[in-house]
Subunit: 479 residues, 2 copies
């Protein structure tokens, strides 16, 4: 293990953790700490330096967030495989991201300063288009004295009238066939998946999962200790023969728009997957997180709509199509799992507020929701096209592939300019542009052949998209 | 296993599940199905009867909710130990409770019909006193275009300004010493405990827990597979020697107002418990769910306020002091656990809406929150006294003990009239009064010596409290 002995000076204006961060970063960049070397634990280093643990933890956080070090579960911190380079990220970003877990690129903004940046965050939505006035009006109705029961816990499964609206909506837009009884409201996709994994845990020990997966979902799968069988991804989705060759009793897929790679599961493969599930009495978890946003060609029917054997669990959210801050998602359960839910052998609490549930129900009932969805589809389609145009137009000298277009709120860029993924992220940041790593999404950490970064476009204006891409070109071009 | 062969008639007006429910209930009441006999599974019975699983599941749900049958994990349904009696619960209750898990007495109302009943639900709060107008005004401010960033995910740890307000409030009211950095916002106590258990899981395998515990917490403890060491309860709280004799690395307590029995952990025992934690480098989880509401004598300092060694995790909620529907709770973490949180080795999603977080922050900042809390304390004090008076006045001929008075929003009644717990609940229900069983809270299911039921009083008017108690007296008196 490396011994770190920085000179820390409490009389300096620079905070202790920043001094420590700069020192360790300097040592890594200068190559004085070799790659993949274990760093002292927070406890040990704070004792060694005679400071409290907080500055050490903050310094490590920052180094983690910037990719200089990595954290290996049950082992500790290690220097990452960053080739020797010397950069200095803008301090505005540095200061305010200490609470942001490096692994969740969803624009967890906590300060105004960040907003000056061009943040291609995956979780952002177009705020200017949100019908604030209408929503306020409906919400105020829910906070009248005659509706004061909405101040209590509400139905454990979720507001029955909202579930009716969702069942109708899903049938119209995604072909999902279900009754409102099969719908369980949740407070976001992870919350819904948490319940689902509890319900499945009895029957499922091995789960086949797309090789790259949203890292919140990954953390949850790890928490439940499923034996994970990774599935390779082709241009038309997972390889079905790998599912057949696994011992999985369930498979997790994002068929409309694979996260993060963006491919669509072909209808042919959908039918094969359903056959597998039927033959093996297995479940398919269909996470359709942005299935509403398909820009080219006809919408592809959801897996659930093709399922005649109650094998598919459909997972949906309002975070993309509306906004994440109302915290409303849902599961559509086959009847066997619905029984499990009703037996109550799980720890489930209804975390979606009855007030937002009722407001959303009124919003859907009035037809405003569907109008909003169609408006956003057309708006995001436009932003999507502007982003692709800008990339094709601006990146003249860099070898770039665009991946996962045609739907959703993000694309990937595979960049061949000699930089690794960390360098792509860091050099972009220097120019004030935030793009996101994708290697963190692989189920079992391994190096991707070509560095690839993720760009969400939902939250940026057309102008910002263009400027952001121009800055990226400057960041990634040879000096 | 019992063979059930009811005659179901789809042409009848009565729904299939009600026919099935009546049939099975009749068989149990008539003694034709002996006590503790296994019933066929839902799947098997639906196949046997040639109906879908839904009516069977609904019938079982209803029988479960009413205590005629019990469900044993990983085994199935069994007839409960109800002595032969013949009752017919009001159908208004029957119809609408199919989604309500029998084990969570928190007034999960889903229909207006239920509201006619006198429901001594534990989770209800006084709705008439909620400052709707002020709240609406503040919330509308959060939904102005200039605050549209509140429509995004927000800070993973929770709104920093809200955390500042909570830190100040906790210091003033509960003596808690912490910085806002140590506070992690959650969407309800279970959500907060879910995170906490993830953070503890690495260091804690055995947990000492009060012998009776909120059953949502119980389900969560079971989900995390802690080795549980039950602690007996005396009039001044847990027995400290049992903690010393355990192998626990953490202890879970509700020291202000034990749930459900209502005793307060004495200061003497608090200090002993803190010493144990210090000596064993163990954690104390202090769930202070209704610590604001103490009616007699001086408030007792929180465990956290007496802790000099960063051993206490303080858990709080706004569900009691404000309302549950905003879904806001919090953890106060010692620095070691804060480090664990920052390392991100957990699956945590911020499920409390940024809109409600900001509204609450404004509400606290204005001083309105503290005024509201004081007003509610005085109001609940009055209801508490009226309830005790009514009980002492009305129950002349029944031998009754009142347990756990002096704080919080519920009391227990230990009733010696020859009825068992199920009968107490059922006969009350016949008169339109809902009281709740307490045997479900014991960590390891066992018979309590004397039947005891729980009465929450927060949500009932003074008049309803009086009427409810009179009806209870009728229900429980010998005919």
């Amino acid at each position: 293990m490396i011994e770190l002995t920085p000179r820390l000076d409490e009389t300096l204006e620079e905070a202790l953790y920043m001094q420590l961060y700069h020192y360790i970063r300097g040592e890594i960049v200068a190559g004085r700490i070799p790659t993949n070397n274990r760093l002292p634990s927070i406890r040990r280093l704070s004792a060694h330096l005679g400071v409290s643990r907080t500055p050490v933890a903050l310094a490590y956080d920052q180094l983690l967030a910037e990719g200089y070090i990595i954290s290996k579960p049950r082992s500790g911190f290690y220097t990452a495989d960053v080739e020797t380079f010397s950069i200095s990220p803008p301090t505005t970003y540095l200061k305010d991201q200490s609470n942001v877990p490096p692994s969740i690129p969803r624009s967890y903004h906590s300060s105004q300063e960040d907003l000056a940046l061009y943040d291609f965050g995956y979780g952002s939505v177009d705020l200017d288009s949100f019908p604030l006035t209408k929503w306020r009006k409906l919400m105020n109705r829910c906070l009248l004295p005659e509706n004061s029961r909405l101040l209590l816990y509400g139905d454990l499964q979720g507001d029955p009238e909202l579930r009716e609206e969702i069942a109708t909506y899903l049938h119209q837009i995604r072909g999902v066939r279900c009754s409102s009884e099969q719908i369980i409201i949740g407070a976001g996709t992870y919350h819904s998946l948490d319940l689902l994994f509890q319900l499945l845990k009895r029957d499922v020990s091995c789960m086949a999962v797309e090789k790259s997966v949203n890292n919140g979902v990954k953390a949850l799968l790890e928490q439940f200790r499923f034996d994970l069988h990774p599935l390779h991804l082709e241009s038309d989705g997972i390889r079905i023969e790998e599912v057949y060759n696994s011992k999985a009793q369930a498979v997790y897929v994002t068929p409309s728009h694979q996260f993060p790679f963006g491919m669509t599961l072909s209808v042919n493969k959908r039918i094969k997957l359903l056959n597998w599930a039927k033959e093996h009495n297995a479940y398919i978890i269909e996470n359709d997180y942005d299935g509403e946003f398909r820009y080219n060609g006809r919408p592809i029917p959801s897996l659930q709509s093709l399922d005649n054997d109650e094998r598919v669990v459909y997972v949906g959210t309002f975070s993309k199509v509306l906004t994440p801050s109302f915290r409303i998602s849902y599961l559509v359960l086959p009847h066997t799992l619905l029984e499990q839910f009703r037996l109550g052998r799980h720890s489930y609490d209804q975390l979606a507020s009855p007030i937002f549930q009722k407001t959303l129900q009124l919003f859907m009932q009035s037809g405003d929701f569907e109008r909003h969805m169609r408006k956003m589809r057309s708006l995001y389609h436009k932003k999507h096209d502007i982003l692709l145009q800008a990339i094709r137009h601006v990146f003249q000298d860099i070898n770039i592939d665009i991946i996962g277009t045609g739907s959703g709120l993000h694309i990937l860029l595979r960049v061949r300019n000699g930089m690794n993924e960390t360098q792509l992220v860091q050099t972009a940041k220097q120019k004030g542009v935030i793009v996101y790593p994708t290697s963190i999404y692989t189920l079992k950490q391994e190096l991707t052949a070509t560095p690839t970064v993720l760009l969400g476009f939902g939250g940026l204006s057309e102008m910002d998209i263009r400027t952001g891409i121009e800055l990226l070109n400057k960041a990634w071009s040879a000096e």
